[in-house]
Amino acid sequence: TTDVAEYALWLGDDALILSQQLGWWISRAPELEEDVALGNIALDLIGHARSLLHYAGTASGRTEDDLAYWRTEPEFRSAWLFEQPNGDFGHTIARQLVASVYLFELYSRLRASSDATLAAIAEKSLKEVDYHRDHAVQWILRLAGGTDESRRRITVALADVWPYVDELFRDEPLIDRLEGVAVRPSTLRPAFDDVIVGVLSEAGLQTPAGFIASGGGRRGSHFTTMGYLLAELQVLARQHPGASW
């Protein structure tokens, strides 16, 4: 149905945007092992994006590439968290922590979806997201427990990313129409908070508080970075309308 397609689009766009951002790190990471690790995560995510966008497109006869390359900014459905810039490595890790803990909880529940395709994608993705979560947690511990400088940086990074957490757990009207198919975002919050509190307290860090961003990605309103990100993502495809690659 259109609603299921829309829901798949939400999840697919989150994965696509995050993958696009992580891909930038390949050849620029702090050490070669991280070029490999961040590259792996980006690859997993683009895999999830492709499955989800493919599924989203079936309702309207569009391919994954139609959706990735030929929509304009207001047609994207990603949440602002995924649109946060890479920043320094600390910002990327802070974003990864939030993203992977959220996605882990989401996919865990989505395995029980009454929609078999979504359930299967969730099942397959879960193992990978578990690794992403472990990667992020290990780096949070290292950066928080490393040098004064790294502790300062990860603290700043977490504070910068935190305004964008809230949006992930908002129950948009679409969710009401997808009882049993979609996971209700607000129900994931307690589990998310538990994991985060555990990690941050092991790291000796405070959970950041304060300002909550308006968000609005599910309704097509995006963070400033999106226009630039899409310009780069789509430039070649749009220069050659109708071409195949």
Partner: protein, 311 residues
Amino acid sequence: SPDERQFDDLIAADSRIEPRDWMPDAYRKTLVRQISQHAHSEIIGMQPEANWITRAPSLKRKAILMAKVQDEAGHGLYLYSAAQTLGTPRDEMTEALIAGKARYSSIFNYPTPTWADMGAIGWLVDGAAICNQVPLCRASYGPYGRAMVRICKEESFHQRQGFEILLELMRGTDAQRAMAQDAVDRWYWPALQMFGPPDDASPNSAQSMAWNIKRFSNDELRQRFVSMLVPQAEVLGVTLPDPKLRLDEETGQYEMSEIDWTEFNEVLAGRGPMNAQRLQRRRDAHEDGAWVREAAAEYARKQAAAREVAA
């Protein structure tokens, strides 16, 4: 000495030399130079392709490209490990690279202005690399030979993927075909130059061949490469940019135009289009990541100390 004799015997038997074995200083030095240069090439070689990760024109191609560039980081890691078994620490090699004191393959100092370069690099550059590298799987130094086995397997994937990119372009629009031919025009000669100077002007080759590090001469490898390319170019429908290229039926060898080494030497001497940028990008990544590496090291120290107290 008995050590020397044992080494010579192993070489004569075409057996592997292992890290614990005695080896002549010159052998060790040659290997460190070659392996670290190869590792650096993998690392610098990530950049021309990473240039297109964010702009790849389909999600499938983006995934394949990310996997490829990531593989190159992996190859760098194996090779640095192999070089480390010869007693040179990775930090030292990295510092030499960043300081501009270490060599890497000149081919990566050319720019990648179009998507077709992703095809041409795979088909031509990785193709040439494979011709160079397959014989290295039998290199006398064990860790190097074994690293090369793994690398060659992945490289042949990469070459096929490059071929497929070009094939898709050649079957596409006029603009796509023009893009593919232009990329082949730009990469063909630099790829041929990857085999090094003609045999009569290659002073280090003889010793390397005697030590079973190198197995074929530069010109032999170049022939092998061209004979592989010609039929593939036909399938693709691209023209190799050498009007003199033709098979001499008698000798079975390809005749070709003389290679212009002037530009090659310019690039080698650091005056290529991208030399400065490649090094700067590596230096930036290294410097920007310093605080992360320090944090990881410090954390590891603290953890070790805590375990010691606990024990």
